[in-house]
């Protein structure tokens, strides 16, 4: 409505799932944003105010919870969650970065074979084996470049700077500068 500030954020391409909460002036764009959104939890996805989520895919499994603070700016980020992603405020994330709190299959070969059968067209009556899930935490003021990947269980400290293409599998201290595949700390931001 003209001349009125909307009370809550908007998704440009459809009706938001009922358990998604957007703060004031937060804008989500992209028809694919919720194509893989399966979470049934209360407030499964909550995003603070003044965020720009441009082409972000919110792929949340049934039990996933994702929270994002204020003034975040993400472009074409893939968020994959089966447990929890906790992202602070003033976080900027670039094109084609993937953040995931699970590997989606077990590491042990024997269990992977069982999982392959369970996931197959003949999987009826074959339950999937347990699969590791570990929450990912990204603190305030983190910058993550395009084509990076943040894997299960990682905590990225406040103000850290993650170079394009870095693959993170371990925690990053605050204000660290990180690069490479596999990623290494290469310096600090100040």
């Amino acid at each position: 409505m003209e001349g009125r500030t909307p009370a809550a954020g908007t998704w440009s391409d459809g009706t938001l799932p009922a358990n998604v909460v957007l703060g004031a002036r937060t804008l989500v764009t992209g028809a694919g944003a919720f194509r893989r959104f399966m979470s049934t939890g209360d407030r499964a996805l909550s995003i603070g105010s003044d965020c720009t989520m441009d082409g972000v895919q919110f792929a949340l499994g049934a039990e996933a919870r994702v929270s994002i603070g204020d003034y975040c700016y993400f472009t074409n980020v893939v968020l994959l969650s089966e447990l929890e992603l906790r992202i602070g405020s003033y976080v900027v994330i670039g094109w084609n970065t993937t953040i995931t709190d699970t590997d989606f299959h077990p590491i042990a070969p024997a269990e992977r074979v069982r999982d392959a059968v369970a996931c197959s067209p003949l999987g009826k009556g074959h339950p999937r084996p347990p699969i590791a899930r570990r929450a990912v935490i990204i603190e305030d003021d983190v910058w993550i470049g395009p084509n990076a990947a943040i894997m299960k269980g990682v905590r990225v400290g406040a103000g850290a700077f993650i170079e394009p293409g870095a693959i993170l599998t371990a925690d990053v201290p605050p204000l660290a500068r990180v690069a490479g595949n596999p990623a290494r700390v290469v310096g600090t931001v100040r």
């Binding site: 993937t98 590997d103 989606f104 299959h105 590491i107 042990a108 070969p109 024997a110 269990e111 992977r112 074979v113 069982r114 999982d115 392959a116 059968v117 996931c119 197959s120 067209p121 003949l122 990947a149 894997m151 293409g165 693959i167 595949n181 596999p182």
Partner: protein, 197 residues
């Protein structure tokens, strides 16, 4: 598949090519995966029992190429570039945006590569096949290739091995190991356990 080789419910209105063998108990999401397929062999692609091939997977298979996806393999959106042979054994898991390429298709020498791309411009369809030798890829039983990884020509990935997400595999991978990074290096061994389901 229907008798005229359509996949029921497919949004892509084309049949599956005649020399593609799909097991009755396999799942292929869409015939679009065969848009770039041009193998002239009797069975250019074989998809085994219980296997699933999801949207995003492209069988970019040249005239003499042959791809086999074993029983219970899961191919979740991979680019399969094949001019010789890509053999994927049973229970292998292949994640999204993985590239398996048994050939570079064009020569490394820029002068020769010019010739290949000039020839492609007048071809119908426009392809750059067959200018360099292809070297088969072999992915053994129950291996797992993580998302966005790339497997280069001539590589064999051992039984049960794991290729980490976004890795580039340039050399053979030992069975029951994890390799990661670009270029991929072994980081640890894993216990085989009982791998018959």
């Amino acid at each position: 598949m229907t008798p005229d080789r359509r996949i029921p419910g497919d949004w892509f209105d084309q049949p599956v090519p005649g020399n593609v063998e799909i097991h009755d108990e396999a799942y292929v999401e869409t015939a679009f995966s065969f848009l770039l397929y041009r193998s002239q062999l009797a069975a250019g692609v074989r998809i085994g029992r219980g296997a699933s091939v999801y949207l995003g997977t492209m069988f970019d298979v040249g005239r003499q190429g042959r791809v086999s996806c074993g029983a219970f393999t899961l191919v979740n959106g991979a680019r399969i570039v094949c001019d010789a042979e890509i053999l994927i054994e049973d229970y292998v898991l292949i994640s999204w945006n993985v590239v398996l390429m048994d050939t570079y298709r064009v020569p490394a020498d820029p002068a020769l590569r010019r010739r290949a791309v000039i020839a492609a411009a007048s071809g119908e369809p426009r392809r750059v096949d067959g200018h360099v030798e292809a070297r088969p890829i072999h992915i053994k039983r129950a291996a797992w290739i993580g998302f966005d990884a790339c497997v280069l020509p001539g590589v064999t990935i051992g039984e049960g091995a794991i290729v980490g997400a976004r890795s580039v595999v340039t050399e053979d991978v030992e069975p029951f190991t994890i390799v990661v990074g670009n270029p991929a290096r072994m980081v640890r061994r894993i216990e085989p356990g009982e791998t018959t389901p």
